[in-house]
Amino acid sequence: MEYFLNQLVNGLCQGAIYALMAIGYSVIVGVVGMVTFTYGEIMMIGAFGAYYVFQFIGINLPVALLAAFASSFLLGIIVYKLCYERFFNAPRHISLLCTIGFSMLIKNLVQIVFGPETKPVLNIIDNRTFTIPLGSAISIDLKLLQIVVMILVVVLAVTLTLFFNRTKSGIALRAVSQNKDAAYLMGINVKRTAMLGNCIGCGFGGVAGILLAIYYYSISTTTWGGFSMKAFSASVLGGLVDLRMSALGGLCIGIVENLGITISSATFRDVFAFGFLIIMLVLRPQGFASKKGSRV
């Protein structure tokens, strides 16, 4: 029981990171209107941006998070120019393949430039553990790392919601995600706004990337494809463009994964994630969202 509860906490924390990834992914899909397979590499670049902050400036979490956001944000501009801008009216598989090609490009360039070995990310957050007693025999171990990650995710999600609801550019983003033509007629610069949306989504991906790196104590150059698919799955679970539901999807995938590996071995982690996704899609093709095609 105690093990089970602890795994639930682990799942919640991992799910929080997945939720952040899914939010970024949903912003991209919602605003641009096309899916991306470059997301894993965008997270990697964010993680690398933060890693070099740790290397050269020292352990300073806020600066590192900013660096992660900024580096992924800038990469987002290139992705947008290369993979989306020309292909708004083309069949979808064209931009999809462009993003696959771009992800190969970034992955291999990073391996050439930064070296293919896995880089350690240690001692960013104190390795302190709080034990919370629940009743007589049961207690939960909560790491400081997990608390920080969860708080960060919540803060970022709230900030993004405020941005979407309270600022002019946020409202423009929502307009573009609902209907590009109508937004164009209202005088919104659709291409520029789509680019901004793509970059913000990428930036969130970058932050999620460094959080994952801190969570796993390392940055590898090869495992990001899997995380990208988790983000994709979580956002599909949430109906692809609904931010809140995507976050819920991310949480669910994190929890299902971590509970799944308590009853089997850790190698089946991804089987549970994708199995859950496929079963959900069979039962409810529109995801958690209440109606088909609901928007950001």
Binding site: V35, R92, C98, V236, F274, G275
Partner: protein
């Protein structure tokens, strides 16, 4: 150009015979065994890409998980032949049927889904197959993989030499092309194309779209399984990482570079991609960079692929945009 076509039509049978004879002579002409290996790879990937082309190019579904079906075929051959010594030629159709069955299972959830949802299901299914292959140690050898897969018998030839193994791939490729051409010209193939062009219109004309979509998946998966079965003894050692999603994307890149929705496209794509990645081996990681740039450049310059027709629905791109731009201008002046 039209004259060439006319001549070709006149002597079609002769042309095919000459082409086949040339293809048969390839392993004896090529000076080094390495080059014959490249030729084998080209033939194998041409058939594998062709099987994906059935799904992506002809019925317009975006399947990203061909590596999974490929893996099923390869592991069927590897496991059954090393454990029970079953002959390659028996396992060849069996691997295909098994892959087709898995294709049927994958197609079930996808019938209700469209576009990108379908893609993620196929991708997820392919990953699940790979992870099972990696962990189901008693059957698949787990992370160790399966070694020393017996070579098939072929009229007493030493099939462990690529020179003779080439003919196995050639036969599979030719049979695949022949059967597929017949299928595509039949009621079934026409239904697939109708679904690709407009699913709702096809449905209203009485095409049972779910049945044909499912059949399409099974047919594509069948050939991927057959190719996988032939692949296992060729490399003689298989393990799960050979069937990662990157393999699937690789095959997808082949059909897109070559041209979706044409029979010749996957062959062209497989030739270009295989030659590129094999001959540039000395560049190490840079060859993937070049490959990636090629994919992006292809999408920018010729989205329908090298062999694809520019008017194809899969090309979209320029023509459509031009029309829309004209339409937008027209309505602007009217308003």
């Amino acid at each position: 150009m039209s004259k060439v076509k006319e001549l070709f039509n006149k002597y079609q049978a002769l042309a095919y015979v000459v082409l086949l004879a040339l293809l048969c002579a390839v392993p004896f002409i090529l000076p080094k065994a390495v080059y014959v290996r490249y030729a084998c790879n080209i033939l194998m990937y041409a058939t594998l890409a062709g099987s994906l082309n059935i799904i992506n190019g002809y019925s317009g579904q975006t399947c990203l998980g061909q590596a999974g079906f490929f893996a099923i075929g390869a592991y069927t051959m590897a496991a059954l032949s090393t454990k029970f010594g079953i002959s390659f030629w028996l396992l060849l159709p069996f691997a295909g049927i098994l892959a087709a069955f898995v294709g049927f299972l994958v197609s079930l959830p996808t019938l209700k889904l469209k576009g990108i949802y379908l893609s993620i299901v196929t991708l997820g299914a392919s990953e699940i197959i790979r992870i099972i292959a990696q962990t189901w140690t008693p059957v698949t050898g787990g992370a160790m993989g399966i070694k020393q897969i017996p070579y098939p018998e072929l009229f007493g030839l030493d099939t462990f030499r690529p020179k003779y193994y080439y003919f196995i791939f050639l036969v599979i490729g030719v049979v695949f092309l022949f059967v597929t051409k017949r299928v595509l010209n039949s009621r079934v193939g026409r239904s697939w194309i109708a679904i690709r062009e407009d699913e709702i219109a096809a449905k209203s004309l009485g095409v049972q779209t779910s049945f044909y979509k499912s059949l399409n998946f099974m047919y594509g998966a069948f050939w991927a399984g057959v190719v996988g079965c032939a692949y296992a003894p060729f490399v003689n050692y298989i393990e799960a990482s050979q069937f990662s999603t990157d393999t699937g994307f690789n095959v997808l890149a082949m059909i897109v570079i070559g041209g979706q929705g044409t029979l010749i496209g996957p062959i062209v794509g497989s030739t270009i991609v295989t030659l590129l990645t094999e001959t540039l081996r000395f560049l190490e990681s840079w060859r993937y960079v070049i490959y990636a740039v090629l994919i992006i450049a292809m999408m920018w310059l010729r989205p329908q692929g090298i062999a694809g027709a520019s008017r194809s629905i899969l090309a979209g791109g320029k023509i459509k945009r031009k029309k829309q731009a004209e339409g937008a201008e027209g309505s602007a002046t009217n308003g």
